[in-house]
Subunit: 174 residues, 2 copies
């Protein structure tokens, strides 16, 4: 059994990044700490270890870190969702709103088979716009979303409201 760790103490808070008024939650101080990294991976993975997950889906770039480690831990395949133009084969795309303009995410059309059990991992749940686009892409390929897990959740921003249809969990809440 792993000793319980206070992961919040491993996060570095950086005021005014990437711009004035934003308090950025820097996870690099957690990732570089081998005990905290292992603990975070295992705490998220254990919630899904008996769900027979086929694929773990994560969004570039930070989402790849926990997503890939958890995919390895639970014995699933790993599926990258990338920004427009980065994936080399046939893709489906979904857009989501940014403060100014929109951003586009892409998923390979052969990434998920119909009825694959999919776990979605990301580092941070804020307003939920990105993760809603991810769920749309997974559903378009007829994947079954078994759960969505985050390292950090900014609860005031109510991102969970956008993904109410799925089991959602997070390890660190602000």
């Amino acid at each position: 059994m792993t000793k319980k760790l206070d992961l919040k103490k491993c996060i570095r808070n950086i005021p005014d990044f990437p711009k004035a008024g934003i308090l950025f939650r820097d996870i690099t101080t957690l990732l570089k700490n081998k005990n905290a990294f292992k603990y975070a991976v295992e705490e998220l993975a254990k919630k899904f270890k008996n769900k027979k997950i086929d694929k773990v889906v994560a969004v570039e770039a930070r989402g790849f870190i926990l997503g890939a480690a958890i995919a390895y831990k639970i014995g699933a395949g790993f599926i990258p969702i990338r920004k427009k133009g980065k994936l080399p084969w046939k893709t489906n795309s979904a857009s989501y709103k940014l403060e100014y303009g929109i951003d586009i995410l892409e998923l390979h059309q052969d990434a998920i088979e119909p009825n694959d059990k999919v776990l979605i991992i990301d580092d941070l749940l804020a307003t939920g716009g990105t993760i809603k686009a991810v769920t749309d892409l997974v559903k378009e390929l007829q994947g079954k979303i078994s759960g969505i897990a985050f390292l950090i959740e900014l609860t005031d921003l109510k991102g969970r409201d956008k993904i109410k249809d799925y089991p959602v969990c997070s390890l660190i809440k602000y």
Copy 2:
């Protein structure tokens, strides 16, 4: 013991991506295959399991995938190297030449302690420009580079010549 897999069969070759004349080696078909992903992680990790690696360093975005899974597997911390402006705290930077112009990589100044044993992971060794910049960043923080490992190596491009001072390995050679 894991059964030997022919990983080359799991790579998809895509002509003329990202531009005419380039044969792109698409690793997403390997990553999505749970057996191939697990095998690749374990084959790379086992070369370093007794080296007491403190930190695994990888470059965004594709490098994060195998890098993070291997860091978890060998019980090391994970250190992301990112493109300019993405890391929120104090950074050191290194530049490397692209076909037209230069690109800049950044590493947090507190990512590595002096004498930390570092394993560098990337998906692909081509001309070696990126990985040379990574080794410079690690050395600047006085990390000890215990090895550099790639999923794929394009041997004709002689990238190894740029990182001769370190143990280098790759799983798939073209």
